[in-house]
Symmetry: C2
Subunit: 672 residues, 2 copies
């Protein structure tokens, strides 16, 4: 796009908007936008394929700001190039309900592809998006019809590169040969504590070469034409590319550039004036001359590119109508028409067979039932495939040479894996899930949170869910992890009791369109639990009456509430209590988070409206107290486990029929 406006002037417009908006908010991070402005111009003016009028155009390149604190860079670019983001939005930077929050948030701002801020996760999302692009292309493109064909560009800084997750995901990007992933590194030698040399002296270029990346640079990050050339070169590589751009943080600020002072707070009116003078910008705050807008404007070019793409797509659709329809269905996130039948049949079969298996095995059985009907299902494990049982019958492993594989060995990289899954979910076309041991959900914690914050359809499978892990000992035995997952706002957590509940947990996770789910499965065999009527609708409520008090609800004396492996235990205890003529109800609670969304009346009814409650779960007891508002107690675990056969541990820690029965007796006597 030739223009009368120089690249320097364009970059200065970004700097000015960043300084002004941050000053007005008196909050924000000017250092990065000012430092990366020239790089941004190179990418957005010369390379980025996008259409501001349709931020969801499938053919667009993806742009991610892994160093998300530099959000004003992205907002300035979106505004200037013609997205639905006004100068008033910029003036509202970081204000309540604005479209310009402190860090970029997907769903809030048109053109923002992912929410960033927690460092290192943006580049991980980018790896996921680039992988999804490569996989969808392999599946849907046809000779002469490169329908799926875009680059993924990520900006990142020293912080992202220090974070361990950058190691995990960039190593994978190398293995997968994600040649359309191009990362631009803001190599400014400064982080918040000052000059990085005393805590970050990596030879980053060498490091990325060790991952099998194409590395370009160091180049001058303030030479827009040089950066543009480097991007052009990167596009030719058969590997992912890192472009090492040497920059000055806060470029232009006479007194603060090149120091950490410019990183995270407004420059102040005086320094802004000095900076504008120094860079030759003499326009009032928030005022951008028309010719600069024109130089940035990508609407016309974007419309043209989308039209070209659409033309190609229509021809593709004419030639391959079924494929196009399937692609559209998958991109809409719509499940196949026969989905409900698939679930119903699987559930009917499971209820009939009444198999007693480990719930991780029940999960694999569910996958065997569901996967053939769901080509969008994309599995994976952090090097525990044979333990997590996440692969289904006949699924092929994904490799660089087989992008049609639908099970991914992520290696021992829990955090990277989950953040990549988020990237895949953001790209669309897949329902991705991934797995590790429940204890090691800890390693991935913030990626799980980001999935919830972004309301992604990511599914996280966690097996080996309690002291039932046994001999591997306390490092591998989750205690607090299930509770930790439940309190992530918006995360649905399922801990099913048997094959039927496992099928429903998977179905609910797959069907959920507005948030992630964690599926928690046992290592050890769980008995199938009988119930009068197996009802998927009941189970899908998260908590339900599995076995009513023998003489009916009116006779109820005590309600046992349990999840997962403790449901069968509670059922056994109920039998003994029944023999003692104690009227006991068994509530199975596979998902407290889903149960909490039911109306109050249903919840009260299920829990027994004021009658004593005993909750049983082999994990942190604390969260269960909210279901025990009057008399009652919790049989849980508030200490670490130990290395021993699982059966001995359950006994040692009181997960026995005798203890449940004793507890109920004491509770009822106490009240009498």
């Amino acid at each position: 796009m030739p223009s009368k406006v120089s690249s320097k002037t364009m970059a200065n417009a970004i700097r000015a908007l960043a300084m002004d908006a941050i000053q007005k908010a008196n909050s924000g991070h000017p250092g990065m936008p000012m430092g990366m402005a020239d790089i941004a111009v190179a990418l957005w003016r010369d390379h980025l394929r996008h259409n501001p009028n349709n931020p969801h155009w499938l053919g667009r390149d993806r742009f991610l700001l892994s160093n998300g604190h530099g959000s004003m860079l992205q907002y300035a670019l979106l505004h200037l190039s013609g997205y639905d983001l006004t100068i008033d939005d910029l003036k509202n930077f970081r204000q309540l309900h604005s479209r310009t929050p402190g860090h970029p948030e997907v769903g809030v701002t048109a053109g923002v592809e992912t929410s960033t801020g927690p460092l290192g996760q943006g580049i991980a999302n980018a790896v996921g998006m680039a992988l999804a692009e490569k996989m969808l292309a392999a599946e849907f493109n046809e000779e002469g019809f490169d329908i799926i064909n875009n680059y993924t560009y990520a900006f990142l800084g020293d912080g992202c590169l220090m974070e361990g997750i950058s190691h995990e995901v960039c190593s994978l990007a190398g293995v997968w040969k994600l040649n359309k992933l191009i990362a631009l590194y803001d190599d400014n030698g400064i982080s918040i504590d000052g000059k990085v040399q005393n805590w970050f002296a990596d030879d980053t270029r060498k490091r990325f070469e060790s991952y099998g990346w194409n590395v370009i640079g160091p180049i001058d990050g303030h030479d827009t034409e040089g950066v543009s050339k480097a991007i052009a070169e990167a596009k030719k590589s058969d590997k992912p590319t890192l472009i090492d751009c040497r920059t000055v943080i806060g470029f232009g600020s006479p007194n603060n550039a090149g120091t950490s002072k410019v990183h995270g707070s407004a420059l102040g009116e005086e320094e802004i004036a000095a900076t504008k003078k120094a860079i030759g910008w003499d326009h009032p705050a928030f005022e951008i001359p028309a010719e600069i807008y024109e130089a940035f404007d990508a609407k016309e070019e974007g419309a043209k590119r989308e039209a070209e793409w659409l033309k190609k797509y229509e021809a593709y659709k004419a030639k391959y109508p079924e494929k196009a329809e399937e692609l559209e269905r998958r991109l809409r996130g719509q499940l196949p028409d026969n989905w409900d039948d698939v679930v119903f049949e699987a559930l009917s079969k499971a209820a009939l067979e009444a198999k007693s298996v480990a719930s991780r095995k029940a999960s694999q059985m569910a996958l065997n039932d569901y996967a053939p009907a769901l080509p969008e299902l994309l599995g994976g494990s952090a090097d525990l495939t044979s333990s997590n049982l996440t692969n289904w019958k006949g699924v092929e492993p994904l490799t660089a040479d087989n992008m049609l594989g639908r099970h991914i060995s992520y290696g021992v990289r829990e955090f990277g894996m989950c953040a990549i899954v988020n990237g895949i979910a953001l790209y669309g076309g897949f329902i991705p899930y991934c797995a590790t041991f429940l204890t090691f959900s800890d390693y991935a914690k913030n990626a799980l949170r980001m999935a919830a914050l972004m309301k992604l359809r990511s599914i996280f499978v966690f097996t080996h869910d309690s002291i039932g892990v046994g001999e591997d000992g306390p490092t591998h035995q989750p205690i607090e992890q299930t509770a930790s997952l439940r309190i992530i706002p918006g995360m649905d957590v399922w801990r099913p009791a048997d094959t039927c509940e496992t099928l429903i947990a998977w179905a609910c996770a797959i069907e959920r369109e507005d948030g992630p789910s964690s599926l928690i499965f046992s290592r050890q065999t769980l008995p199938f639990v009988n119930q009068e009527e197996v009802s998927g609708d009941n189970m899908a409520k998260g908590g339900y009456i599995m076995q009513e008090a023998p003489n009916g609800a009116a006779s109820l004396e005590v309600t046992l509430v349990a999840s997962g492996s403790e449901v069968a235990l509670a059922a056994e205890a109920r039998k003994i209590l029944t023999a003692m003529n104690i009227q006991c109800r068994l509530v199975s609670m596979p998902s407290t988070t889903v149960f909490d969304r039911q109306d109050e009346q249903y919840r009260d009814q299920v829990l027994g409206e004021g009658r004593p409650v005993v909750a049983i779960e082999a994990g942190t007891p604390d969260l269960w107290w909210k279901y025990i508002r009057g008399r009652g107690t919790v049989i849980g675990l508030d200490h670490f486990g130990a290395s021993a056969p699982a059966g001995e541990l359950f006994k040692l820690y009181g997960f026995t029929v005798d203890n449940v029965v004793d507890t109920v007796q004491k509770l009822l006597n106490k009240g009498k």
Copy 2:
């Protein structure tokens, strides 16, 4: 130590014990011990300086198994070289209450320096130990008296190297030039999912060179003499060393060696017989010939080495008695004699000054008060020093050239930082703390858990503790993090309300000898909260009556329970309620975890024995229900925050005096 027994035979003894113990337990990981046995012989026979009769000898080299699933390797070595670990202990591998748990556990087994299993954290602990050694040496050694002088050896595998934390900590080890850290890499090309090439194709040697490490290899990991030479070479380097040892996993097993089949389960009697035949081992299970015991026995040599060291130490002590006394005090973990006075004075001053400051600032004030009296205090931050306010007046930054610095810039590496802190705590001589934003405690979660599991005196500082973060938005606003920390078994969590509580929180964390503490501080200013009598003893109970009902306990109508920033809010509400003649008690609960350890009578009394309770905290409400067993409610947050000025968010989400007053009124009316 020349011996008639060949190194091959010694290695085979390890292999035999590993196979036998795992077979007997029918559980465990034979692949690694069989693969690394020759490397282990090279290190333990030719290099490791240790005394099996005194596993706590200060002068010992540290040995860590970062790939902790290979625990039988370590147990075999400990047993064979003369530690207090019998053949019966090995026969009890992975059994309840045994000294040979599934993964190595510090405190359970003599000679085990850290608990490992969660991959990557062992090498992180090793970095912490090597750093502690270098710092203590710089502080305490004198010309001719290298009292502190040991190597730190870590075994690690592909899994550790895939984990992101290995990137974080090995980068730091390079920066710090930890030349006495030697890592031996079990480069066998196999992980659980199979041949690693499809998910782990890093050029690891190049990668470690990029961190500034000395890299040796690849060498034949089954050539004991070659490995021994490499270790000798490593000792001469002025950098940390990685020795890349090519090995065959499950070496010796005719049918399973070199495959993932041998990683994680017993070989089976038949394959064990075949393996023993193949490696030429013809002794019954668990039987080791006397000459092999003799070849391994390190007791005599160890006693001699310790005696030499002791002689030197006695001379040092004679020449530098005060220094020696101080070193001994610090290694005992004993606080200075004047410690109680220091705390008392600081608290008296704070109560008098009644300053309203952000609690992160109050924390820095506490550090300024305490640090001069505590030379063992060692601070740090994950590149947020100026935000976490973890540096005290006059403290110098630690760098490779200044090992006397007592504040560490860890870079943006939360997980690595916390695991390094655990390593420092394990080494002793320091009370280490480190800091990041509370939200990013997520990144470090499993290291926090490991600190609790190991009962370490690690202190974790987390600032920016709620929606009070404001404009940085939901990615940076903790909601569920405080609750997540509280449910880690054994973790003490403090969220103090003002300068006085902050001083006590720090004091309790510093004094606690049997577990870690998390200190949670606000970004925003918190009003000083008046109370009739400022009592450190009260605060140290975790929860206490801060302001009694105006007409005394007997008149109590409602108890407000709050922590941190919500205490002042509750105090304001109490004023209004008092004006309405509602008898309201204010309970400040800076630490629920400490409060939970008080006796039942105290807890019931503080909470108001059956009277309604309203708990207020700007975070996950769920954990508070356990304090509200009858009538009551929780004012909390079960959703994500937003990017806006903090004051607006508190108002939007109901953290206002009006809402607290309304809630109490409704609660009381409802019950009347």
